[in-house]
């Protein structure tokens, strides 16, 4: 009924074929991704549960000696954060690829860069940030020195953002493959090395009683470089995957 009125409206008929695609702004992109992420609650909760569960296994595997746990806590938490980020990233573009909306995104006149950035930002908000918030709690369980709590949180908050950005390149490269899980880990893990080194380095420096400013500065620099370059590479990878 309402359609008929639309058809008989002469204004609509005249302007009909002249409209052009209005690309969604960054806010719309971000909001859409955020809504989608919140509705897929398991995608948020599972990496966190994985993180906590595997870290709880660690003392069972290496023994409950508080001193040894204290020495290893920073590194263990960081490696587990790495794995949790990586595992959650496989699905970053998958849904959009399968339902065709990634193709629609790539057809828009605005650069794919912003769409990727919005996705990664949301991924960090629902994965990396909660991991960082949880980390002091796990540090306590693993007998991490109190001096390490703050640098652990800070380095994880900064570092997981870089991990999300770098991982997005891998997720985009493997999105057209049916079961990319292990391949994604294989191609992305080596690229995570600098973040891991400086992240654990910050915690270690604080525990040893030194300042950890330089490590945080380097993590910040890595994040800046990753934010500039990784979405570009991911955008290129998406176009390659769509061509498959």
């Amino acid at each position: 009924m309402r359609v008929d009125s639309l058809a008989s409206s002469p204004g609509a008929a005249e302007s009909g074929a002249t409209g052009s695609v209005r690309p969604p702004g960054f806010y719309t992109l971000f909001r859409t991704e955020f809504i989608l992420a919140v509705r897929r609650r398991s995608d948020i909760v599972n990496p966190l549960l994985f993180f906590v569960t595997v870290l709880a296994m660690m003392p069972l595997g290496i023994g409950p000696d508080p001193e040894m746990l204290a020495r290893m806590a920073g590194g263990l938490i960081w490696v587990m954060a790495l794995l949790a980020t990586l595992l959650s990233q496989e699905s970053l573009f998958r849904g959009d690829y399968e339902d065709g909306s990634l193709e629609q995104l790539a057809l828009q006149t605005q650069p794919l860069y912003f769409s990727v950035l919005a996705k990664v930002l949301v991924h960090w908000l629902v994965t990396g940030l909660p991991l960082a918030v949880l980390s002091p709690l796990l540090g306590m369980m693993l007998n991490l020195g109190e001096a390490g709590y703050w640098p652990l949180f800070m380095s994880l908050a900064l570092g997981t953002a870089s991990l999300s950005l770098i991982g997005a390149v891998g997720a985009a490269l493997t999105v057209a493959l049916r079961r990319p899980g292990l391949l994604l880990a294989l191609i992305i893990m080596p690229l995570y090395v600098p973040v891991l080194i400086f992240g654990t380095g910050a915690v270690q420096a604080a525990l040893d009683g030194y300042g950890y400013g330089p490590q945080m500065a380097i993590l910040g620099a890595i994040l800046a470089a990753a934010a500039a370059l990784a979405p570009l590479a991911a955008a290129g990878a998406i176009r390659i995957s769509l061509e498959n």
Binding site: A13, A17, S20, L36, E98, D99, G100, L107
Partner: protein, 229 residues
């Protein structure tokens, strides 16, 4: 091949929307079609025919610039493709094999993502028979209903001028097909162009057809025979 209708375009090539000259596409070393020629004018529609695997989807993906491995020329308003791709995408509405409907969003949210206002989206959803489903998550809709969410984009008041539709009639009931044909005809009358693939007959006017089977390379056939022999 396709007669021009209303010449509203003011470009250097008046009336011409999308055309291809000597277009050859191959996939995995197999030539899908060779020397394809067509000219789609403003106010006209073109149906691509061909058997499964003849390369219809590859042709469409090539035309919209998603696939870049081709030989020959694709022209948008008379300008060859890599150069005119941004301008083509500005006036492109593409609905592919995968509809581009996010399962985690409601139909309303999906249309809003494509730039529709709330009222326009409601009208469009009503037109495709999804009245009452606006706020249901798309993952709870049937395949046909999801498809119609994508087609609702065609019922928005301000659509881009070039519609490229891959199997738009699939999974639609009789009434849905009739409504869509009316909408496409209306789009042509407004000076738009439609390029579509379909296994079903489409009754819109003016409609031209090309069959990809007519552009299958003879050399390719003989090559295949020599492999077999």
């Amino acid at each position: 091949m396709v007669s021009a209708q209303s010449g509203t375009a003011t470009d250097s090539a008046p009336g011409l929307a999308l055309s291809a000259r000597g277009l050859t596409c191959e996939r995995d070393g197999r030539i899908l079609f060779e020397g394809l020629e067509f000219a789609l004018s403003v106010g006209a529609a073109l149906q691509i025919e061909g058997a499964n695997g003849a390369g219809k989807s590859t042709l469409i993906r090539t035309l919209i610039g998603t696939a870049s491995d081709y030989q020959g020329h694709i022209l948008w308003r008379g300008v060859p493709l890599p150069k005119s791709l941004p301008s083509l995408r500005e006036s492109l509405l593409y609905i592919g094999h995968n509809a581009g409907v996010r399962r985690g969003l409601t139909p309303l949210e999906n249309l809003a993502w494509y730039g529709a206002s709330h009222t326009d989206a409601l009208v469009a959803l009503d037109a495709v028979g999804l009245y009452g489903f606006e706020d249901v998550l798309c993952q709870q809709l049937s395949a046909g209903q999801t498809r119609r969410v994508a087609l609702a984009r065609l019922y928005l008041p301000e659509t881009p001028s070039l519609w490229i539709l891959d199997e738009p009639l699939a999974a639609l009931d009789v009434a849905g097909v009739a409504s869509l044909e009316t909408q496409m005809t209306r789009h042509l009358q407004r000076g738009g162009s439609v390029l579509l693939t379909s296994h079903q007959p489409v009754t819109i006017a003016p409609l031209a057809k090309i069959n990809l089977a007519d552009f299958q390379a003879s050399a390719h056939d003989s090559l295949e025979h020599s492999y077999a022999g």
